[in-house]
């Protein structure tokens, strides 16, 4: 007998027995991170591709950032600890924001656990809440997602890097973990629901699936339904080259800009009263920024009681495009069309100094339903930012005051409010009086 005989004989094991051999122990509740990962991967091995693991150890990441620019970085897997991490060193292009809110998911990794995006400035104050916008545009040299799916994650408590880190969204001792298999016509996925725990009341899903070669992990908020998950699973498709992805993205961005540009011109041409209702009589013009996005600049002709110069961004939205991205020179932000609103105009004001920051502007945002999300304040140390609720006239506003930034050159405050249809942000000089602010607020009658 030869060793090859044994090897061949092992190949004669029947399929059902092999399947039993692959089967892991049943997933348990209240698992710690490492055994859970092992169980998950074991489950995946049982359900899909035991032979498919372990292919990628490093490579490129192409991300589509919030404003449809993409960036490419490298990732590598650190195996120093049992919890393997993905480090993303993003090298952003000029047109992209220099801050990326989230490592977009799903992430292709094998039997790895993504424990977080390691990046300076990615932490928040204790108790602060993070608003995460997932733009499902993770790309890989071998894969792409056929569609971008944007949604907001429920809030997560997130601690500063310098302090305790075990509350970074991950498993905590005592965290409830439930799991089940989801099966659709052509796909199946392993769904893990995490939380709540005594320290973190939030819940989230992790969806694991494989195409027989890679294991995919998608983190998604608790509110996401199975149909959405199915769409995410089905949206992944192999592609030939990364260049194909980039080409397609560039084309999509271009098309999107053209569409927005046309819409903006339509609004500007058809609704001139929109502009004059905002502040005072203004003159303005629409121009295309270097990054290709439309911008409306307004110059008040009567500056009494108004900031010396105002730039106002107006953009239309339609219901099919729930999230609209709009741009100033350096400010990417979003406005979400409220439910039931099929078309309209949302406005963004900023005095001109806000555009001179030259870097990212993070923002508070009041989402419909009164959930509050905080992203980051890059131009001010956290302890120089005060947040309070103020009442001006009949308006209840959230006021964020930034007394000084790290360069001690910027002072200002931001006011946030909403009516039934829109959310508003006003960035104004610190010295602006309540009367001046009220005038602005009153000018924003429903369009």
């Amino acid at each position: 007998m030869k060793r090859e005989d044994i090897f061949r004989a092992i190949g004669e094991l029947d399929s059902e027995f092999l399947e039993q051999c692959e089967a892991p122990a049943a997933p348990r509740r209240k698992l710690w991170l490492i055994p859970l990962v092992a169980a998950l991967i074991a489950a995946l091995c049982a359900t899909a591709a035991a032979g498919g693991l372990g292919r990628v150890s490093h490579g490129e990441v192409a991300e589509v950032t919030a404003n449809n620019h993409y960036s490419i970085g490298a990732y590598s897997f650190s195996q120093e600890s049992q919890e393997l991490e993905v480090f993303v060193d993003l090298q952003l292009e000029n047109l992209a924001p220099d801050y990326v809110h989230q490592l977009y998911l799903p992430t292709i990794c094998e039997d790895l656990e993504v424990t977080g995006l390691q990046r300076d400035g990615a932490s928040l104050d204790p108790g602060a809440e993070q608003m995460t916008r997932f733009l499902i545009s993770w790309n890989h040299p071998d894969y792409k997602f056929k569609q971008n799916i944007t949604f907001e994650q429920r809030t997560i408590r997130y601690w500063r890097q310098s302090e305790q880190k075990d509350t970074v969204p991950d498993y905590l001792p005592g965290t409830d973990v439930e799991s089940k298999m989801l099966r659709w016509d052509d796909h199946e996925a392993f769904l893990v629901t995490i939380g709540p725990s005594k320290d973190d009341l939030s819940q989230s899903h992790r969806l694991y699936w494989t195409d027989g070669y890679y294991v995919f992990i998608l983190r998604c908020p608790y509110g996401i339904g199975e149909e959405w998950m199915r769409a995410a699973v089905e949206s992944v498709a192999r592609v030939d080259t990364l260049q194909d992805i980039q080409k397609e993205l560039a084309q999509r961005v271009e098309e999107g800009q053209e569409e927005m540009w046309e819409d903006l011109k339509r609004v500007a041409n058809s609704s001139p009263e929109i502009f004059t209702k905002q502040f005072h009589p203004v003159s303005g013009h629409v121009e295309r920024l270097e990054n290709g996005m439309p911008k409306l600049s307004l110059e008040p002709t009567d500056t009494t009681g108004a900031p010396e110069k105002v730039e106002m961004m107006i953009f239309p939205f339609v219901a099919e495009e729930k999230d609209f991205v709009f741009h100033s020179d350096c400010i990417p932000t979003f406005v979400e069309a409220p439910e039931g609103v099929t078309k309209g105009v949302a406005c963004y004001y900023s005095v001109n100094w806000a555009y001179e920051l030259g870097g990212r502007v993070e923002y508070w945002q009041i989402a419909r339903g009164a959930s509050l999300h905080y992203t980051n304040h890059s131009y001010a140390p956290a302890d120089s930012v005060q947040v309070e609720t103020v009442t001006i006239g009949n308006y209840e506003l959230l006021q964020v005051t930034c007394e000084e930034d790290q360069r001690q050159t910027i002072m200002g405050k931001e006011l946030y409010w909403m009516d039934d249809d829109y959310r508003y942000i006003l960035i104004c000089p610190l010295a602006m009086t309540d009367a001046e602010i009220l005038e602005i607020l009153d000018s924003l009658d429903r369009i």
């Binding site: 044994i6 190949g11 074991a42 035991a50 372990g54 070669y213």
Partner: protein, 186 residues
């Protein structure tokens, strides 16, 4: 497409069966073959051969687990290709290592010409595997059926590599004792 639908295509002698098999399990089969073979061309050859063999095997066979049925066939095809290339030493390191490890179950002075029924030996190995723990069974299959590396198995099972090596070594020792007990002239 569901496995059952793919099977029906085979039974209907519809050539879409191969296309659908390729769509659903092509990547998986390439992984299995890739663990055994060193070059992409060889892997493609093994997978192509496999589809032909699957086409000839179904019907009459109706596999209970289509994926593993494919895996078995592609594994055999890959191994055949490997054997034909042994002189050129083109097999992957993992396969050579796996074979060397299995060689521990065979005494150096055993008669290589001894005729062994692979099917019978397979049935005995199955009985052996049923006698060991689930973890040992799983690691054994990953290593000697899928020819996964120890590192890959370690990641997959949440173990250290040295732990995997220990478990494999222990299981091989048990297998050797079992085969001797079953009357194999090792």
């Amino acid at each position: 497409m569901q496995d059952e639908q793919i099977l029906e295509l085979y039974f209907a002698r519809d050539e879409r069966a191969i296309r659908e098999s390729e769509n659903k399990y092509g990547g998986y089969c390439r992984t299995v073959a890739g663990n055994i073979l060193g070059s992409r061309e060889d892997v493609e050859e093994a997978v192509s051969d496999s589809w032909l063999r699957v086409w000839n095997a179904i019907p009459p066979q109706r596999p209970a687990v289509l994926r593993l049925f494919f895996a078995k066939i592609v594994r055999n095809c890959a191994f055949n290709i490997h054997r034909s290339q042994t002189a050129q030493k083109r097999g992957t390191g993992d396969l050579m290592l796996a074979l060397e490890e299995l060689g521990e179950c065979v005494a150096p002075d055993s008669d290589p010409e001894q005729t062994v029924s692979v099917k019978e030996l397979g049935a005995d190995i199955r009985r052996f595997l049923e006698s060991v723990s689930q973890r040992e069974r799983r690691i054994f299959v990953l290593r000697y059926f899928y020819v996964e590396s120890a590192a890959s198995i370690a990641r997959c099972c949440g173990l250290s590599q040295s732990n995997v090596h220990q478990i494999l070594s222990r299981t091989r020792g048990k297998l050797k004792a079992f085969l001797i007990q079953e009357g194999y002239a090792l």
